[in-house]
């Protein structure tokens, strides 16, 4: 048997061949985030055309900050949606954790301790849901609905009659209300570029070492360059002074951006490059096949719910940092927008397909609709209707592409 590999691997040929290969993948129904990115660009063009305020530096910075909470919650939900499950309680779990955090903090506990306690509450809630789903067999919709109903009550009891408590932790308020220094923004971009290049180069050298064809280095350089240009433009715009009062300059990348990027990077790394991530996709795609391959399906499911609640708690921190208080209705409305953002971004509700970046893009789309329609003075009601339409279109695209790529099931 010769050592020469003759079966194609999809990495041969020039950059052009790779683009062609991507095209054929796209046509066979694996569209990923492409429709959402197209929608995002379309919205940017339309709103820029109808509102002179939309693409101002101040509004762009606002958009990032506004969408961060939704983005993090949506990223959290990806972990359970990917398994074909749902966690309706993600929002209120975060709200409850934040209520405990703020309340204990006001009673004089140190803030790092109470914040850590909130995350423990998140993990415990995730374990609780996961246990009922994976070990007892209660549908996740029902058990998380139960918590969705119960947690606002817990918050009401914690927060007392007024139902609102103020956040008095400057370190937490800083997340959504401060900006990086100009040089820190550029440093952040440089780190992103170096990481992208290093990861690509690492993969490439491992392939070459194994004697496999690898994508041309030029493709990686194009990719890094493209991120550099787009990211550079973003950092440049955010570094411009956007203050209306020249005496108090406001400039720099919002502090929340590097935090969110870091979490997305770690999550994506885990999903793409670890056994746990592979098993997540396997369980989402075909739990029976995963079980027969020796994967502990129940354990994976429980971990998924725990990760979801943990990341949801981060979105709760973002939320409380931005609005500066916690109220007993926190997290009730946003969770469904989180599901919508994931689906709009290209995560399949049928399970087995989805990436964190999809959630981020979907959250941008929904935030932009909200922000843009608000700017041109269209009433909030219309904004809800438009969001609903976008979601139904995205779900239809998902169902159709699934039909298409699964078409070979009926063929033999």
């Amino acid at each position: 048997m010769s050592d020469q590999i003759t079966i194609k691997t999809g990495q041969e040929g020039s950059a052009l061949d790779q683009i062609k290969a991507y095209g054929s993948k796209f046509r066979s129904g694996e569209m990923g985030a492409v429709p959402a990115i197209a929608a995002l660009l379309l919205l940017l063009v339309i709103f820029n055309f109808v509102s002179p305020y939309f693409l101002t530096t101040i509004n762009i910075a606002n958009l990032f900050v506004q969408s961060a909470t939704l983005m993090m919650l949506s990223a959290a939900l990806v972990f359970v949606i990917m398994l074909g499950e749902i966690d309706l309680s993600a929002g209120v779990t975060a709200g409850t954790g934040m209520a405990v955090f703020v309340k204990l903090n006001q009673l004089g506990w140190s803030w790092p301790l109470t914040l850590a306690l909130a995350f423990v509450i998140g993990l415990a809630t995730g374990w609780f849901i996961g246990f009922f789903v994976a070990k007892i067999g209660v549908p996740s919709f029902v058990i998380s609905l139960a918590l969705y109903l119960a947690f606002p009550g817990v918050m009401l009891i914690i927060l007392g009659e007024g139902g609102v408590l103020r956040l008095e932790v400057p370190e937490v308020s800083a997340i959504m209300n401060t900006n990086l220094a100009v040089w820190q923004g550029w440093l952040m971009l440089a780190i992103c570029l170096v990481l992208t290049f290093a990861m690509g180069y690492w993969d490439r050298s491992r392939r070459l070492k194994a004697g496999l064809p690898a994508r041309p280095l030029s493709l990686l350089i194009y990719k890094v360059a493209a991120i550099g240009v787009l990211g550079g433009a973003g950092v440049y715009i955010l570094n411009l002074s956007r203050s209306l009062n020249p005496l108090f300059p406001v400039q720099g990348v919002p502090t929340v951006i590097p935090i969110a990027l870091f979490i997305l990077f770690v999550g994506t790394f885990v999903l793409d490059r670890t056994k746990f991530g592979r098993y997540m996709y396997a369980v989402g795609g075909n739990p029976e096949a995963a079980r027969r391959a020796g994967i502990k399906v129940a354990k994976i499911r429980i971990y998924a719910f725990m990760i979801c609640s943990f990341l949801a708690m981060i979105s709760g921190v973002f939320n409380v940092s931005r609005i500066g208080n916690v109220e007993s209705s926190a997290g009730r409305a946003i969770v469904l927008s989180g599901v919508a953002a994931a689906v709009v971004g290209g995560v399949s509700l049928f399970g087995g397909r989805g990436r964190l970046v999809h959630a981020a893009i979907g959250a941008f789309v929904i935030s932009i609709i909200d922000n843009g329609l608000g700017l041109i003075g269209i009433p909030a009601g219309v904004s809800f209707i438009v969001t609903g339409i976008v979601l139904s279109v995205a779900a239809t695209v998902d169902a159709l592409s699934r039909k298409r790529s699964g078409g070979s099931l009926t063929r033999t």
Partner: protein, 249 residues
């Protein structure tokens, strides 16, 4: 003929009052395809599940490579090198070919999945079986035809260093050309020195690819024949219970 890889004798299994296997003997040899045939309810699946360790036998002796073994969990069977390819394949459609072939046994390096080495090993396994029908190793299984899926499922057993591969009706849902592909693959599996048990209802397939034919009839092994020395009509006779040949001791 060499020594049998696996030898079953006096295998019994009953579910409540129903005796499904009533003292079955079977010898399977390395490098040979043994077809297991018989009508519905003859006990084929029960016999296979016992070897796989999914459903242990009530009574009888199993010898693997000459040693007596107790196959009471799937883990034991799989550790011995027994792999079963079930009819419903057990592939994840949302994963690609390499990911499926290594599912549950991923190779790691530097703390992360070693995609490159896995891809290389998968390519070698497919090549060793002369598989040419797949376009790219990184295709998702959802884009593969039934025959290609069967190919992936069977090739996976080679990666796992199987000694005995059990195929449950590998051609059941396939068209003519794809059946041919899969049968060729089954043949090459045996030519590599593996022992193969193939359950089939299709006698044309059986006569094309099998070296030995074992016929179950109502829980009894009524005949174990060499393909070369028998005919379609004989086998049909055994399957339907018109003929019987108690294997001489």
């Amino acid at each position: 003929m060499s020594n049998p890889l696996i030898e079953l004798s006096g295998i019994k299994k009953s579910f409540g009052p129903v005796d499904v296997l009533k003292g079955v003997d079977l010898k399977v040899y390395p490098g040979r395809v043994t077809a297991l045939v018989g009508d519905n309810g003859a006990g084929k699946s029960t016999l296979i599940k016992g070897i796989a360790g999914v459903q242990p036998y009530d009574d009888g002796v199993v010898k693997f490579e000459g040693e007596e073994v107790n196959l009471h969990t799937p883990r034991i069977s799989s550790a011995l090198g027994i792999e079963v390819v079930y009819q419903d394949l057990a592939l994840c459609e949302n994963l690609d070919i390499v990911q499926n072939m290594f599912l549950g046994r991923e190779e790691m390096s530097q703390g992360t999945l070693n995609e490159a080495d896995m891809e290389f090993a998968a390519a070698k396994a497919l090549q060793s079986l002369s598989v040419r029908t797949v376009k790219s190793l990184r295709q998702k299984v959802s884009s593969l035809s039934g025959g290609q899926r069967q190919t992936v499922a069977i090739s996976r057993t080679v990666l796992r260093d199987a000694k005995l591969v059990i195929l449950d009706e590998p051609t059941a849902a396939l068209g003519v050309a794809q059946t041919e592909q899969v049968l060729n693959l089954v043949r090459r599996l045996a030519d590599k020195g593996l022992a193969v048990i193939m359950i089939s209802h299709n006698l044309a397939d059986v006569f094309q690819v099998a070296d030995d034919i074992a016929v179950l009839y109502l829980g009894n092994m009524v005949a174990q024949l060499e393909t070369k020395k028998t005919t379609h009509n004989d086998v049909i006779g055994y399957i339907t219970g018109i003929k019987s040949q108690k294997e001489g001791k």
